[in-house]
Point group: C2
Chain length 484, copies 2
């Protein structure tokens, strides 16, 4: 075994420059790479495998609520895109336009979808005739494009991967119920699978989706600067789209009515959230439930004789695990064990098993957790399956618990505007404060501090105090923070 | 139970107008619908579920060969797209161009990918340094755009869904092996899962992929007009792309070399192929292995008392089946059993179970196969699991056998050019004939008959006769046919 490189190239430390740490860890862990197309990134196999595990689990949960997948065109003719006025106003500045097909100029430019309401609603209008056709519950996995010149992998790219759900209902109440149901699906998915604690709530009028009646959101706190990341949104669109796209149905009494819509999406931003919440100076820490590799086995040997015995043990342990967990044996012979430890730590694999000659002699493996520094545990080979199952569950729990602790420790009830300014300037985290509900107070804080109201949490106290800004009677307790 | 509509709207018969039958069956079975965007179609949930089952199985097979999924940008800057001269020449007439982002004109137009060699190869150039980095085996599932004004759902649309695999190798031999391996993966997938017999072979120089050294293909025969459908292709790109995109590596001796590439793709055209090969005047016949619904249960009752008993039996049978097959119970109460039979026949569900009061009394179900007209079989409830498993396998086999019979019956060894013309004009199927290998003879036949050489089958006879067109010494036996 050569000692070609003892250590993987080192990361910058989070404390020194969290944003640069993010860029480096994403690239060095091979989640994504820069692309020659301005504003975009390439998602590499390791990053895409993570997304695939997330997709599989979220897709299952979405389908369990009765939703079916479908696929709608990438392009939306300009006239169709412009039908809902608020919608086009909100999205126009970030749309990519196709103006030529083959050698011909198009008569009308086509938008590359930034979101698909404007192409799906005309289809709903065709499919919905009677109340018996409702509800329609549809989802699509695709990429969308929103013009962006300063990309940051997963968080903000010109093109990004997501799922977008679109539904049609007979009543506003049913649409409201669906919008809230899908937010809850997201909350549960993000907390259970990605180990990211979030605050579910409603967006203010100024922050809601262009064309929506109400937007719901889950907001997570990132590490480092403790900024917020909007992790998924769900919109009750009311009958705004139903009216402009003429989605009408005959109700049970034979009366013609406009239908109500929802839409809801979760994107690969959540990959970035996992990086920023769980990662440390050694690299990623991936939650076991979605980690592409849950257990890596690293053999340790010096002589050929040791190698044969060790590799035989590696093969046996891999055989014991491979039906129940995603296990990888790193048999590269041009890398040292130390280099491999660092490399798999960087890539965030939750559990490492080391197998050396002494382990072989004692019929054991050495188990090392990515999330607990310096802890090593000898496990008899006969008990390795049970130990791994238990450890993976514990890692998942402990990542969530750490993240929850960070969220709690960096959230403060703030009662003066000065204190809010101080906290925003110091990247101190979320500030919980009372708000009168006026757009003026909201805009003032945003202009003066660059913090925004991330959401009006569903969880409201019984008594609401005075507005932090104007001192008038408060209507809500809200979360102020800067956001990615 | 009302008798609102006894029969689903009838299809035109295949014999009367096969092309119109195709359009109607795709729409009425709810596989796809017209879209308001010229050249595109909307894939409805039933059609998309079919694609999802195909994807899952093909993805598994691709990964088994060591390939990993990734994701590359949708857009390719013009200058990058133009680097491989043959490639741009072949694709330029069908490219959609983005020229505006937000309010700004782009300095350089961006192609919406018609295929991704030109964006993936620059990344390969970055990732490949040493022979130790090779091979790189990557796949992506995405949509691509090729300008098309006269769409036909699944077969020819401006935007279509596919997977595209891209690999890099140290030697031409290894690239050749990979190109052939992936064609074999496609052949096995299409024959085993989609029940479509195909002829594997090589494309001629004039029919190969723009920029490839060699293109391999699997060609299937459609029903109706017995035209060919190219069902998947695999390309050995040689070092064409390696040289223009400078994909270089140091070999084991430290010498700098250009790398070799392959690419290979299978699209949702294969959905259209299943429709055209297996379908009949009553609608689709879906192969059980990929059918979204493998078994549909239709209850039959007149009185409320019967209804209660029958629906209880339906629930019991569904419970017995649902862990092993994709089963759906059609409990709609505004449709008659007859209407439902026709509807599920139209949608191609392989097996129908009818449960009426007499079935309940005798602890049985009535099993009806979609692919065998008029056959009804009583099966005891206790044996329903085994009967279904066996029947589904038999349906899969028998669909393949019918398709193979059609292919064989409509393939003829042709020894005169007049006979070839006759057969092409009569839509008689594939004509197997000797060819000298010259582009002139090939072009002449294409111009005079509109038939093309679909492939030079791998399966070649020991003795090759004289060229059908010029009478000179033949080099290959080829398949002539018109194609979709």
């Amino acid at each position: 075994m050569t000692t070609e490189r003892k250590f993987v190239e080192e990361l910058i430390e989070q404390e020194d420059d969290f944003d640069r740490w993010y860029v480096e860890v994403v690239r060095k862990a091979e989640l994504a790479d820069d692309s020659p197309v301005r504003g975009t990134k390439v998602i590499r196999p390791y990053g895409f495998a993570l997304w695939e595990h997330m997709q599989a689990e979220l897709d299952r949960r979405i389908k369990e609520t009765g939703v079916q997948n479908a696929y709608f065109p990438l392009f939306i003719p300009k006239s169709m895109f412009e039908r809902e006025a608020e919608h086009i106003e909100g999205f126009a500045p970030e749309v990519a336009w196709v103006t030529r097909g083959g050698d011909k100029e198009l008569e009308e430019p086509w938008a590359v979808r930034p979101t698909s309401e404007a192409i799906i609603c005309p289809m709903f209008a065709r499919w919905v005739q009677s109340y018996r056709d409702l509800p329609i519950l549809i989802n699509q996995w695709c990429s969308v494009v929103r013009w962006e010149e300063r990309p940051r992998a997963f968080l903000r790219t010109l093109e990004f991967l997501w799922q977008e759900g679109h539904t049609v209902h007979a009543t506003l109440e049913e649409a409201e119920e669906r919008a809230r149901l899908m937010l809850e699906v997201y909350r549960d998915f993000v907390e259970t699978e990605l180990a990211l604690p979030v605050i579910p709530g409603q967006k203010t009028e100024s922050e809601k989706f262009a064309g929506a009646l109400r937007t719901y959101t889950i907001e997570a706190m990132m590490g480092g600067k403790h900024w917020a990341l909007q992790s998924a949104t769900s919109h009750n669109l009311g009958d705004h789209f139903g009216r402009v796209f003429e989605i009408q149905f005959l109700d049970a009494e034979g009366k013609r009515r406009y239908a109500f819509n929802t839409s809801w999406g979760l994107s690969h931003r959540t990959v970035g959230a996992m990086v920023m919440v769980h990662g440390d100076d050694r690299g990623l820490k991936l939650p076991p439930r979605v980690a592409p590799i849950q257990v890596v086995i690293v053999p340790i040997w010096r002589t050929d004789e040791e190698r044969a015995k060790v590799e035989e043990a590696v093969e046996r342990v891999r055989g014991l695990l491979r039906d129940s967990v995603r296990v990888h044996a790193d048999l590269r012979d041009d890398k040292t064990p130390g280099w491999k430890f660092n490399d798999w730590d960087l890539k965030g694999v939750p559990v490492r098993l080391e197998i050396g000659p002494r382990d072989v002699a004692q019929e054991q493996v050495t188990l090392v957790r990515r999330d607990v520094l310096g802890q090593r545990q000898a496990v008899p080979v006969s008990g390795v399956g049970a130990a791994i199952a238990e450890t993976l569950e514990d890692v998942q729990r402990s990542l969530f618990a750490s993240a929850k602790r960070m969220l709690d420790e960096h959230t403060e009830d703030v009662t003066s505007y000065d204190r809010l300014k101080e906290r925003v300037a110091a990247n101190a985290g979320f500030s919980r404060a009372f708000w009168c509900g006026s757009a003026e107070c909201e805009a003032r804080v945003k202009a003066e501090t660059r913090a925004t109201i991330r959401c009006i949490p569903f969880d409201q106290p019984e008594r609401i105090g005075a507005c932090l800004v104007c001192g008038e009677a408060g209507r809500y307790r809200v979360i102020w923070a800067r956001a990615y």
